[in-house]
Amino acid sequence: MTLEQWLEDARMDAFRRKLPELAELLEGLAKSTAVLREADWNDDASGCKEGEEESK
């Protein structure tokens, strides 16, 4: 799931649950998650990052 899709779903769920303040917090969490997903320790099924992982 892309982060954008996750945030849209999460925000809609927060409003559905009548927690509008939570929607703002979720935007902050999304920024933090974006940083986490960009970290160079993350590999993927393409195998393109395996060399980087071994060199760490």
Partner: protein, 448 residues
């Protein structure tokens, strides 16, 4: 604020019968009665039990049956830790009617060592915050300036130790919750290595990051408490010299966004260690910028799992801000949790590398002085820094890695707010860290 006697000062005098535990306990209870209405450090005061324990301790000591340095010493517990027959509220109205069925192991060990338990201290609700603004019993207030936070989450413990409401206390630390209030209140806070002190009978925030440890008036007292809390006989810490000791200052992320007075005090303290014969090098954690997101994803999801049922059934019983933060954790995806677990391993390896060839790491404990209650952000170097991230940035790494770390006072701002220096040591080296910290404390002491 006048210096208060330490356990190490009092223990020999108690053992010789020069001071009675009952008198010490009465003094602590009088301090609570006088100061707690303003500072809000205690949720429950166990006055009758404490006085009975103190009288019993006096009888044992008079009969020649001393149990060691903690015998007869008034001690408080963060209200996250079970004490038989007393509520463990976790500062939440959700648990107002809870009664602990038995002592947590750490409580039982303190009792066995003869400590007198005077009560349960205030905290950020469920230990989920650094300011103690969100407590079901109201905010705890800084003893140096009651308009400011005393840090958190173990704020009541640090206030109690600083002001004479107890001589030492037991706190917990998931992202800095012992070291942050210790720095904000001008006392010593030790986060031992992970699980070196049992966290059984302690309400969890994140079981993989939670640590139990002492808050005290000196490093020597921290060592005495640490021994008892881990089930060993309390023994005096050997002193050591700083001559030839090797430190690495953790730079970059940890020094870039410091309040100017915190920075000047910490750098001056490091210079004093150099002048005392220590070698000071520099080190960095290449992935330091990821500490906060890694920590956030782990602690949010762990806390949400523990609170899921109560969030569903009794959400209105939480304070609003803590409830929202717990709700946020329910949206963390499993895949991001796994990314955070991998990041934790990377950061742990980098801390190990930073410790390679040195005795300990040096950095501030708290990047800002105690913030005003209610502040969302504070000014740092011409910009605005969110309070929560500013308070956690220097302490979180050692919760992720499990390395032992201690905060001790190293000066104050021009307005008199304390500043804390943090020393982080090797795994399986908490006693070595305490010996080193005692030498640092001596080097930083004002000239007699």
């Amino acid at each position: 604020m006048a210096d208060q006697p330490t356990i190490a000062d009092l223990a020999p005098r108690i053992a010789r019968g020069e001071i009675r535990s009952e008198k010490l306990t009465e003094d602590a209870l009088a301090a609570i009665a006088k100061l707690n209405p303003q500072l809000n450090a205690f949720i429950t005061v166990t006055a009758d039990q404490a006085l009975a324990s103190a009288r019993h301790a006096d009888k044992e000591i008079a009969a020649g049956r001393s149990r060691g340095p903690l015998h007869g010493i008034p001690i408080s517990l963060k209200d996250l830790i079970d004490m038989e027959g007393v509520p463990t509220t976790a500062a939440s109205r959700l648990r107002a009617h809870h009664i602990a069925r038995r002592d947590a192991p750490v409580t039982a060990r303190l009792r066995e060592a003869g400590a007198v338990l005077v009560g349960k201290t205030n905290l950020h609700e469920f230990a989920f915050g650094t300011t103690t603004e969100d407590s079901g019993w109201g905010p705890a207030r800084n003893p140096f300036d009651a308009t400011r936070s005393a840090g958190g989450s173990s704020s009541g413990s640090a206030i109690a130790v600083k002001t004479g409401m107890s001589i030492a206390s037991v706190g917990t630390d998931t992202g800095g919750s012992i070291r942050i209030p210790a720095a904000a209140c001008g006392v010593v806070g030790l986060k031992p290595e992970w699980e070196e002190i049992s966290s059984a009978g302690v309400v969890p925030l994140s079981r993989q990051l939670d640590h139990v440890g002492p808050i005290t008036r000196s490093v020597e007292d921290a060592a005495l408490m640490f021994d008892v809390m881990r089930g060993k006989p309390a023994a005096a810490t050997e002193t050591t010299t700083l001559w030839g000791k090797r430190f690495a200052v953790l730079g970059g992320y940890f020094l870039d966004r410091l309040d100017e007075h915190v920075e000047s005090n910490v750098l001056a303290a490091i210079e004093r260690l150099r002048n005392a014969g220590a070698t000071i090098n520099e080190a960095t954690l290449p992935h330091a910028a990821y500490v906060a997101p890694v920590y956030l994803h782990l602690v949010l999801a762990d806390a949400a799992a523990y609170h899921a049922t109560m969030l569903h059934e009794r959400s209105a019983a939480y304070t609003p801000n803590v409830r929202l933060r717990l709700e946020m954790g329910r949206y963390v995806l499993a895949e991001d949790y796994v990314r955070a677990l991998r990041g934790r391993a990377v950061l742990t390896r980098e801390i190990e590398l930073a410790l390679d060839g040195v005795d300990a790491l040096l950095l501030p404990a708290l990047a800002i002085p105690a913030p005003p209650l209610g502040a969302a952000a504070v000014p740092v170097k011409g910009g605005q820094e969110p309070v929560r991230s500013a308070m956690l940035r220097c302490t979180q790494p050692f919760n992720l890695s499990g390395h032992p770390a201690i905060s001790l006072p190293c000066g104050s701002t021009p307005t008199g707010l304390p500043v804390g220096l943090q020393i982080a040591g090797r795994r399986r080296g908490t006693s070595d860290l305490l010996r080193l910290a005692r030498a640092v404390e001596a080097a930083l002491a004002p000239p007699a």
